[in-house]
Amino acid sequence: MFAPFMQDTWITAGIVAVIAALVGFFVVLRAAAFTAHAVPNAAFAGAAGAGLVGVSSLVGLGVFSLGGALLIGLLSRKGRHDAVTALTVALMLGLGALFLSWSTEYAPEIYSLLFGEVLGLSSQDVTTTAILGFACVAVLACVYRPLMLSSTLPEVAEARGIRQVRIDLLFLTLVALATTTAVPVVGALLMFTLMIGPPAAARALTRHPAPALTLGVLLALATVWIAIAASYQTDWPIGFFVGVISAAWYLLARAAAAVFRR
């Protein structure tokens, strides 16, 4: 399990977990779970399209996740946010279906883009993920304060001259960037689970930002690493373990919160 060829997997998955937990903290805070689900799905369509045009799938992922995120942001200015998100993700998936029907590579490719292919990473993947992940953290650090303020106290943020619309687009861009980092490595479904489960569990336990962020990161790391180990041992898909463990954290955290808050 700790053989040299597995090293890249451990590292890359760790980077992805940290990014997912950091961005996921704001996803949970802003109740933007649907967005976090929609953007990776849009990205999936982009990767399918990139294969057709002949560019690297990373470019397709980036373009489509950013495009999808901005489309959601722009359309929801004038409509119900969740309905707009549902329509956008449907459109993106429809395009994905079209691209897939054109392309010659079939089921295994789709499968790996949706469910991830963590156990077969190269050191090149590690470098790409590390660079993109660093960019994510840098952007997050720059916008941390206004983002936090507008997520918790929108009225105060507005009064301070922070435009809600702009912050929303910024946040969506951040989700898109995190998605581009993670989807080639862990797949669309897994990325979403990591962005929701551990941060939601952390937030159920504490309301203070710094402990919640730290706890979220720790839980996300634990989730992916346990999942990799279990997947390595059983040969079952890693998505299963990540999904179940994430949900388990959340349930445990809710139960613990219910017990201690009495």
């Binding site: 649907f34 309905a83 998100t85 549902a86 459109l91 998936l93 898909p237």
Partner: protein, 310 residues
């Protein structure tokens, strides 16, 4: 109508461009149109409540979770219909039970259930593919196939669709009250928690059915697209339901038509996906309905419902 000249590129006369020869006499097209219409009708009715209650995410997730039903049914060898229905009911219930009273936290609860269940379906799909014989399962389950509806499934779809509509009719008034104001409904003695659960189950069945018929991608689009468009056109819930159903049926019909035509389109000669056409039509309709009314006016606007065909 005319004698054949080369229809290869699909850019012939306008009529021929729309209706390929043989469209109306094709058996699969009949079945697809019938079941597609039924699904559009139920989706329209349920969709209006879904949008009003702000549960689009749940609706979308339930469709995604059709994968669970589909892959599970393949694994245990039951008909996919039962797998879809069971998954819809179970997951819809779980989502409702996992959420707390605050609406804001519902998204997170939905997301947690979605993630967990997607993980389980990943496992089931894995077991499906490793236990042999079903290579195309992933693709079929994900993208559905409007053209592969058998007679038995069509009947069962009809039955479940009627069931869904009937339960919606029974709960209509309390559900509407609850959608507008939960507090008011609770004060009036409506058991809101139970009602919410019941609605989730109805939505689960509807979405499961439609994702079986039209695929997990198109199904949420059909649930939310027409309803969101209709609610921008009219304020009355009943009128919105009618409009949404009509829009959904129209888009499905046109989509099937275009997909049938597209068998001669480039770049490959085996047709473009039906779901893409239907979604593109619905999306366009939604965008157009936004141009119509700048939020303030309250008058009903029935005439625009058909603009989408343009």
């Amino acid at each position: 109508m005319r004698a054949m000249s080369s229809p290869r590129s699909g850019f012939g006369s306008g009529f021929r461009f729309l209706f390929e020869p043989g469209f109306f006499s094709s058996g699969p097209v009949h079945a697809a149109l019938l079941t597609g219409t039924v699904v559009a009708l139920v989706s329209g009715a349920v969709g209006v409540f879904t949008v009003l209650r702000g549960q689009s995410f749940a609706g979308h997730s339930l469709a995604d979770l059709g994968t669970l039903g589909g892959s599970g049914a393949f694994l245990f060898g039951v008909g996919p219909l039962w797998g879809f229905i069971a998954a819809g009911v179970a997951v819809g219930g779980a989502m409702d039970l996992a959420s707390t009273r605050r609406r804001a936290s519902r998204g997170v609860a939905t997301g947690i259930v979605l993630g967990a269940v997607q993980g389980v379906s990943a496992l089931l799909l894995y077991l499906d593919t490793t236990s042999g014989s079903t290579t195309g399962v992933t693709v079929t389950v994900l993208f559905g196939s409007l053209f592969a509806v058998s007679g038995y499934t069509a009947t069962a779809t009809l039955a479940f669709a009627l069931l869904g509509l009937a339960s919606l009719a029974v709960c209509y008034r309390p559900l509407l009250l609850d959608s507008v104001s939960t507090d008011l409904a609770a004060a009036r003695g409506v058991r809101v928690r139970l009602l919410g659960l019941a609605f989730m189950v109805v939505m689960g069945i509807t979405v499961a059915l439609s994702s079986l018929i039209v695929g997990t991608i198109l199904s949420p689009a059909l649930l939310i697209g027409p309803a969101a468009t209709a609610l921008r056109l009219t304020q009355s819930p009943l009128a919105a339901m009618g409009t949404a159903a009509a829009l959904g049926a129209l888009a499905t019909g046109l989509g099937v038509l275009l997909a049938y035509d597209s068998y001669h389109w480039k770049p490959v000669g085996n047709g473009w996906p039906v779901s893409l056409f239907v979604i593109a039509l619905l999306f366009t309709a939604y965008l157009l309905s936004g141009l119509r009314r700048p939020r303030a006016g309250t008058g009903p606007a029935p005439a625009t419902a058909t603009t989408e065909a343009a």
